[in-house]
């Protein structure tokens, strides 16, 4: 009896493995056809696949889903460049959902690597990037992260590049602005994630160095059902501490929830609001109630962007043809794909990681895209010293994000 059961079990195991091998081999064969082999119909063309790991589902999917059309647009642009240069490389994206989870991002990186892909765009979060770093270091797997800017990952000599400028310079610029606006006491209210924690910490250092004071800090958890009580806590402290302003750092989903609650709180309507670019572009914030609130509290936001960049406007217009609207980091995603592709073209389609790494550094020096100059520092992070100021306003009866000035080298210019 036991023999029969064991035989049945062995048969199950063997058939499972056999099916796995057959599926894997078939798909692998197909992948092989598309990645490295020359196709029979167009023998002169070679396909070069770029791995893309973004959160198509999960808590930050509302931002990242809008990156997919950006990737497709950048790939089309790369192919146009390749064609115009008479090269035989055709780029293709290989997009996988990482759900905003560190483990899924690592799995995606391993899948790309096993499929012969040597450059990955993404993942969106610093926590995910940390989970891939060991794999990237060991296998010389190149990662261009479009939305991570935590200083904890500013490590020289690795295979990680980041097209989002550092949070340190941005927080410093906002501190300068706060002081110029005669703001001396602030309550810092932010989501408990790496970007906002870092931003808040460096803002505090910079602001207090210039004579300001953070009178209280409130940190809320991401991924909650509602933030009404967190807003009530903020309002309680705003009433008792009477700060000059509130510094808010959050994303589209939590931001819309918080701002809609804040709009109903008299204590919060009586205080100025400084906000960070992390919810810039989020459509759920663009509702009349929040716009009216933003006007009432004279909300000012900051985002890293060159002072004048017609490429960004062109990017926004062209993106509509791909069915997308720009969200947080969209322009950095485009730049990441372009820098990766141009580096590949520069090496003639190489898959050698050291050659590609060097090419990325060189290409970035001369690259200028919707996110500005691509120049990378010694840690592989984008250098950016200019920031735009924005607010929420009604333009021709439509709620919109509107640029109202800029900051460059401690010079603040307000446009209106």
């Amino acid at each position: 009896m036991e023999l029969i059961t064991n035989t049945r079990f062995m048969l199950i195991i063997a058939s499972t493995l056999l099916i796995g091998i057959v599926i894997g081999y078939t798909i692998g064969y197909y992948m092989g056809q598309t990645t490295v082999q020359t196709t029979q119909t167009t023998p002169i063309q070679r396909k070069y696949i770029l791995g893309v790991s973004i959160a198509l589902s999960g808590p930050i999917s509302s931002i990242c889903v809008q990156w997919e059309p950006v990737v497709r647009m950048a790939i089309d642009d790369l192919n146009n460049i390749s064609r115009s240069m008479g090269l035989n490389l055709v780029f293709e994206p290989y997009i996988l959902d990482d759900k905003g989870s560190p483990e899924e991002a690592l799995k995606n990186a391993q899948t790309f690597y096993a499929a012969g892909i040597r450059i990955m765009i993404g993942p969106p979060l610093s926590s995910q990037l940390k989970a891939i770093k060991a794999f990237s270091d060991a296998n010389k797997f190149i990662i261009i992260a479009p939305c991570s800017n935590s200083p904890t990952l500013a490590i020289p000599g690795d295979y990680i590049f980041r097209t989002q400028p550092s949070a340190i310079a941005e927080s410093e610029a906002l501190a300068v602005l706060a002081i110029r606006e005669n703001i001396r006491s602030i309550i810092s209210f932010h989501i408990d994630d790496e970007f906002c924690n870092v931003f808040s910490k460096y803002f505090k250092d910079s602001f207090e160095k210039r004579g300001g004071r953070i009178v209280h800090e409130i940190v809320y958890s991401p991924g909650q059902a509602d933030y009404g009580t967190d807003v009530a806590t903020l309002a309680s402290f705003a009433r008792s501490l009477t700060p000059d302003a509130i510094l808010y750092c959050g994303y589209g989903t939590d931001g819309a929830n918080i701002l809609s609650h804040a709009a109903e709180e008299p204590a919060l309507r009586a205080t100025r609001w400084l906000v960070v670019e992390s919810f810039y572009g989020a459509s759920e914030v663009l509702v009349p109630k929040i716009i009216e609130f933003a006007q009432q509290v004279r909300m000012i936001g900051i985002r890293p962007a060159p002072l004048v960049n017609p490429l960004y406007d062109e990017f926004v217009n062209r993106l509509r043809n791909y069915g997308g609207t720009p969200t947080y980091c969209s322009e950095n995603v485009y730049d990441a794909v372009m820098i990766a592709g141009l580096a590949v073209l520069r090496t003639g389609g190489s898959t050698d990681p050291d050659e590609l790494r060097e090419a990325i550094v060189q290409v970035a020096k001369t690259y200028y895209g919707p996110g500005g100059w691509g120049l990378l520092d010694e840690n592989g992070d984008r250098v950016q010293a200019a920031f735009k100021l924005w607010t929420l306003s009604m333009v021709n009866g439509t709620p919109q994000y509107v640029d109202i000035g800029y900051i460059s080298d401690s010079t603040i210019v307000m446009e209106s």
Binding site: A232, T253, G255, A267
Partner: protein, 322 residues
């Protein structure tokens, strides 16, 4: 301390939790299935209201949203019953198997919703993965007519909550159908022997479970400034906590537990945060701490009872005897 907002949040959340927790307990005590696809009802209920709002150019009446959401949630419940729960029951599957099978169903529904949202986003150019709050035109009209200036979500949650709870009370306590459902919940074999059509009543229970839970979704979109496909997951954790405190059997205790958890999450936390300086990041830990303490100190003796170990010493003494 700004107690008003915390009170409002507690009040609205109490209704949202009650409307989603009671069906969870109802379905468990009747069918003995621990349904991991429960968040789907909330999410789909909310998204039906969102899609209606988009297609009706932001002129959605509450009763239309409620009708469509209730029907959608109910149909999903019946579909789950027919395709997953009934076949598993017929094959004698254990509760754990039902639980994991419904988790598989959750994957399917959740990602199907992502696909629907993305297709609609491409067709209509609007983002559905994080959607702003939905105002119901009929409630706005009534409020204007009678000069009621309170926020709309208070009126909506009170109206819908009371109507549903009273209807459910009447159904379960004053009709033959309700008696039959309670009979099935108490003893399925005996109820079947008494001529109660078990299969039909199971399907009806799942229809009611899905439908009522979906209504909590339409309250959610009215209250919250943003709705995402993950919303069901956020709410369902509290639903499970309330259902467990209710012993997976008592609808009244489940409802009271829902309200108590909403209060803990909001009022109690605001007090701790303002006076003790606790950060909101530990809010969920406090809620789970309360649940843990309640379950350990006073274990409910409901459907999931088991051996009350606090009597172990007494039993041991009796067994050992003099």
């Amino acid at each position: 301390m700004e107690i008003a907002r915390a009170l409002i949040c507690s009040y609205v959340f109490s209704w949202i939790y009650i409307l989603s927790s009671i069906p969870l307990t109802l379905s468990y005590r009747t069918t003995k299935v621990f349904n991991f696809a429960h968040p789907v009802f909330i999410t789909y209920g909310a998204y039906v209201a969102i899609f209606l709002n988009e297609f009706l150019n932001k002129n959605t009446p509450l009763f239309i949203a409620a009708l469509f959401s209730f029907t959608t949630g109910g149909l999903i419940g019946v579909l789950n019953y027919l395709l997953i729960i009934r076949p598993l029951h017929q094959r004698g599957a254990s509760p754990n198997v039902h639980m994991i099978a419904t988790m598989g169903a959750w994957f399917v529904y959740q990602y199907a919703l992502y696909i629907i949202c993305q297709v609609l986003m491409k067709l209509r150019g609007a983002s559905f993965l994080s959607y702003p709050s939905v105002e119901y035109v009929d409630i706005s009209y009534i409020q204007r007519a009678i000069g009621l200036n309170t926020p709309q979500y208070i009126v909506t949650s009170t109206t819908l909550g009371l109507v549903v709870i009273l209807s459910l009370y009447v159904l379960l306590n004053k009709t033959m159908l309700g008696f039959a459902m309670r009979g099935i919940a108490d003893n399925q074999i005996l109820a079947t022997l008494c001529g109660i059509p078990r299969d039909k009543l199971m399907a009806l229970t799942w229809f009611l479970t899905g439908g009522i839970t979906a209504l909590s979704g339409i309250l959610w979109v009215n209250f919250s400034g943003s709705t995402t496909p993950e919303i069901g997951l956020h709410v369902v954790v509290i639903n499970f906590a309330a259902a467990f405190i209710g012993g997976l059997s008592s609808l009244l205790v489940t409802a009271l537990a829902s309200a108590a958890l909403a209060l803990t999450e909001n009022i109690v936390f605001l007090f701790l945060s303002y006076h003790l300086g606790l950060q909101p990041t530990i809010r969920l830990a406090i809620v789970f701490g309360v649940v843990f303490t309640i379950l350990v100190i006073r274990p409910p003796l409901g459907a999931g009872g088991g051996l009350p170990y606090r009597f172990r010493t007494r039993i041991g003494r009796k067994v050992a005897g003099p």
